[in-house]
C-alpha cells in the first residue's frame, strides 16, 4: 500500500500556523533571544555618536536602519560570523546539506526512482530535516566493551577536524577564516588527522567489523595521501606560495587545470578515496563488513560522522576549486552598487537616510562567492556521479592504484610543472 501525501487545504494550513505560532514564540524567547545576545557579546560593536554600544543597547537598535546596518556590518566582519556562518561552518553545512539532497535526487533519477518525495511540499526538500530529527531522537547505544571516552570523542573529533579543514578555504577575496601563509601545509596536516580518528573510533568500538573497516580506512587513507600531496606540489611549484588565497590570485589569467590536467585527475581520484566515496567505499563496504568503522555508531553519533564526512566532501571539492579551477576568479556578473547608496545611504520611504555602514558588502565578494559556489557545486556533482555508475573495488586493487599508478602520475605532473617553470612559461616572472 502506498502512502499518499495529504492534499493541501487552506483551513488545515491556517490551523497549523496558529498552532505553530505558540511554538515560534516559545522558541524565540527561549533560544533565539539568548542566541542573539550571545552573538552581540562576541562581535566588536561600532562606536556610534561617540558612545560605545553595549549588547543591551545594540539589541534595541537592531530594528532601526540607521543603527541596525552598521551593527549588521560589524557582525559581518567579526571573527564570530566568519567561523560560525559565512566562509566557515554555516556556509559549508548549507552546501553539505544541499549536497545530501542533490545526491539523493540525482541518484534517484539515475536509477529510475523518485527519491525523497513526501517530506516537505516540494520534492521532499525537508527529508534531511526529518532524517536529522530521527537520528536525534534515536537512542545512542554504546557497546558494553567499548572504550567509552574515545568512542564518544571520535565523532566529535571527526566533525571538528572537518570543520578545521573548512576554515582554511578562501571563498572570496579576503573571506577566509584562517588566512595562513602555510595554508596548504595546514591542509596536509588536517588530512593527516582523519586516519588517526578513524582508527581510534574503530578500535575503541571493540568489535570485529569496525576493526576491519578501520584497518581498511587506514590503508586507504595513508596510501592515497601520498599521491594527494604529490599532485598538489605542481601548483605550489608554479605559484611559489602555500597561501591558498595567493594561489587563487595567481590564477587570474588562467586556471591550473589547463596546464596540470594530470595533477587534477590524480587529485580528484585521491580525493574520492579520501572521502570514502564509491568506488572507494571499502571502509564502509556493506555486504562485506556491515558498515565498516561506522557499524557501532548509532543515533546522533552516526549523524555527526555523516555531517563530518559531508563537510569533508565540501572542503575537498572547494580545495579542488581553489587549486585547479581558479577559486573565486570569474567574469564580473554582479552589477555594481548604485553610487547614491555609497554616498547618501538608503532611501527609506520619502526620506534618504545617511547610514555609515553602507554598503554592507563589496561587489567582488558577491561575485567571488557566486563563482566559487558554482564551481564547487560542479565539482561536487562530479564527485557524486561515480556512485551511480561504479561498483566497489577491492582493497588490493585500491592499493595497487594508489601506490603504482597515481604516484607515478603525480611525479609526471611535478615534472610538467618544473618544465613549465624552467621554460619560463609560468611561475614568478613567467610569460603568462
Amino acid at each position: 500500500m502506498s502512502v499518499i501525501a495529504p492534499k493541501f487545504r487552506l483551513g488545515y494550513f491556517l490551523k497549523s500556523l496558529t498552532d505553530n505560532i505558540f511554538w515560534i514564540i516559545v522558541l524565540f524567547t527561549l533560544v533565539g533571544m539568548p542566541a542573539i545576545m550571545l552573538i552581540l557579546f562576541f562581535i566588536d560593536l561600532p562606536v556610534l555618536d561617540g558612545t560605545l554600544l553595549t549588547p543591551f543597547l545594540a539589541f534595541t537598535m537592531i530594528f532601526h536602519p540607521e543603527t541596525g546596518v552598521p551593527l549588521l556590518k560589524s557582525l559581518l566582519y567579526s571573527d564570530f560570523f566568519r567561523i560560525a556562518a559565512f566562509p566557515g561552518f554555516g556556509f559549508a553545512a548549507l552546501l553539505a546539506a544541499g549536497t545530501i539532497f542533490a545526491e539523493r535526487k540525482l541518484l534517484a533519477k539515475l536509477q529510475l526512482r523518485v527519491g525523497p518525495f513526501y517530506c516537505g511540499k516540494f520534492e521532499g526538500i525537508l527529508q534531511l530535516m526529518a532524517d536529522g530529527l530521527k537520528l536525534i531522537s534515536k537512542e545512542i547505544i554504546i557497546p558494553a566493551k567499548a572504550d567509552k571516552p574515545i568512542f564518544w570523542a571520535a565523532p566529535i573529533l571527526f566533525v571538528a577536524t572537518a570543520a578545521a579543514f573548512v576554515s582554511l578555504i578562501p571563498v572570496a577575496p579576503g573571506w577566509v577564516v584562517a588566512d595562513l601563509d602555510v595554508g596548504l601545509l595546514a591542509v596536509f596536516a588536517i588530512i593527516g588527522f582523519f586516519p588517526i580518528i578513524t582508527i581510534l573510533s574503530a578500535w575503541s568500538a571493540n568489535s570485529k567489523f569496525p576493526f576491519i573497516g578501520g584497518i581498511r580506512a587506514l590503508h586507504q587513507m595513508v596510501s592515497f595521501e601520498i599521491p594527494l600531496i604529490l599532485s598538489l606540489l605542481g601548483v605550489v611549484i608554479l605559484t611559489g606560495t602555500l597561501n591558498l588565497s595567493k594561489i587563487v590570485e595567481s590564477q587570474s589569467n588562467y586556471w591550473f587545470i589547463a596546464f596540470l590536467p594530470i595533477g587534477a585527475i590524480v587529485f580528484f581520484i585521491s580525493m574520492l578515496a579520501e572521502l570514502e566515496r564509491i568506488p572507494f567505499d571499502l571502509p564502509e563496504a556493506e555486504s562485506e563488513i556491515v558498515a565498516g568503522w561506522l557499524t557501532e555508531f548509532s543515533g546522533m553519533i552516526y549523524g555527526l560522522v555523516q555531517l563530518g564526512s559531508y563537510l569533508k566532501l565540501y572542503a575537498f571539492a572547494a580545495l579542488f576549486v581553489v587549486l585547479f579551477l581558479g577559486g573565486w576568479q570569474g567574469p564580473m556578473v554582479v552589477p555594481p552598487f548604485p553610487a547614491e547608496i555609497i554616498t547618501h545611504g538608503i532611501v527609506a520611504g520619502p526620506i534618504t537616510i545617511h547610514v555609515p555602514g553602507l554598503p554592507i558588502t563589496t561587489q567582488e565578494m558577491l561575485n567571488g562567492t557566486l563563482w566559487f559556489t558554482l564551481k564547487t557545486v560542479a565539482v561536487i556533482f562530479f564527485i557524486l556521479i561515480p556512485r551511480g555508475v561504479f561498483p566497489r573495488i577491492r582493497i588490493d586493487m585500491l592499493l595497487s592504484i594508489g601506490w603504482n599508478k597515481l604516484i607515478a602520475l603525480a611525479f609526471i605532473n611535478i615534472f610538467i610543472a618544473l618544465g613549465l617553470l624552467y621554460a619560463g612559461v609560468l611561475g614568478p616572472g613567467g610569460l603568462l
Binding site: 539515475l110 561498483p391 566497489r392 586493487m397
Partner: protein
Amino acid sequence: MTARLPPGLQLEKVDDRIMTLNVGPQHPGSGHMRLIIKVDGDYIVSCDPDPGYVHRGEEKMAEYRNYITNIPHLERPVIHDSCNILYPYCLGVEELLGLEVSERAKYVRVIASELNRFTYTLYWLAIYGIFLGHSTMFMWPAGDRELAIDLLEKLTGARVTHSYFVPGGVRNDLPANFEDVCLRQINYLEKRLKAYADIFYDNPILIARTEKTGVLSREDAIRLGTTGTVLRASGVDYDVRTKEPYDVYDELDVHTNVLKNGDSYDRSKTPWLDMLESCNIIRQALEKMPKSGSVRVKLKPNPKGGNDEVYKRVESGRGSLGAYIVSRSKPEPYRVKLSVGSFRNLICMPYLLKGEKLGNMPAVYWSLNYWPVEADR
C-alpha cells in the same frame, strides 16, 4: 568448562592470527543463513556455510495434505520463482494420477515458467549488484522486475505467490489480450537487459573484481554436483530443458548458454544470458501456442494415486529442480522430496572461498545463484 558451544560461538584465542567472522544471519551480506568465516588478515582461511535458519518443513507438511492443497505451500520456499518450484511436483502428480495435459496448457506453463525465471533472476541480479556496491544495478532490475510481475499478475492474479500450476494444467486460461501485452513487455525487457550490459557487465571495475575469483573448474563443477548456471558457467553444456525436455520444450528452439572460465564473472553472466534466452522462448511459445482449448483437466475430489513413485525435474532459475513423490494409494502423498539447485550449489562455497580475499566473499557467494530459503525448504 568443556561445554560444547555451537560452531562460530566458540571463544577464540586472543593471540591467534585467525579471526572468526560470523557473516549472518544478521548481516547485510548474508541472507537467511550464516557463513562462519575465518580470516587471516584479508585472506579467508576457511568458510563454513551454516544454512537452516528458515527451515519450515515443507516436505513433511506435504505428507498431511492432499495433492491439490499441497500447491500453495510447496511454492513458499521460492516465492519469486513459484511456478518453477511447482513444475516438477505437478509433472510428477500428473504421472501418478495419469492425467493428460492439453497442448495449450503446456504452452501456458512454459510462458509462465519463463516469466517466473525473469522475476527470479532479476531479483537475484539486483542483489548481486548491491553486494558489489553497485546501487544502480540494484534499482534497475528491481524496477524492471515489476513489468514481469505485472504480466504474471495478469496471468495468475497474484504478484508473487502465484499457485498457478496445478496437476492437470494451469489454474486459469490466459486473460484477453495477454499475448500482445506480453510481447510488448518482453521486447522492452530485452532492451533493458542490453542496457544492463552497458552499466554492469562491461564495467571495467566489475570485470577486474570478479574475473578470476572463485574459479570452479569443469571437473570440480561436475564432481561437486553443482547445477544450473554455476555448472554452465564452468563449461558444462547441461540444461534440463534441452537434455531432458519436459512439456513442450522439445518443440521449442532452446539455446543453452555455456561459458568457459567458471569464475564469478561468468557465473554472474550466465543468468543474464539465460534471461535473454527466456525472451526467445516466450516469443516462440506465444507463436506456436494453440489459440484455443482447455487448460485444466477436471479432477475428482481427493484424487488418489496407486502404489507408485515418480521423480521429475525441471530447470529452475537456480538449476535443476527435482521432485520425488511416493504415493501409497491415499489422497496424500506418502513422501515428497524436493531436490533443489540452491543446496547443491551451496556445497561448493567452502571450496571456492578458501584462500580468497574477504572482499571477494560477496562476489563469490551470490554468484552461486543460491537462495537460502529454498536450500532450507
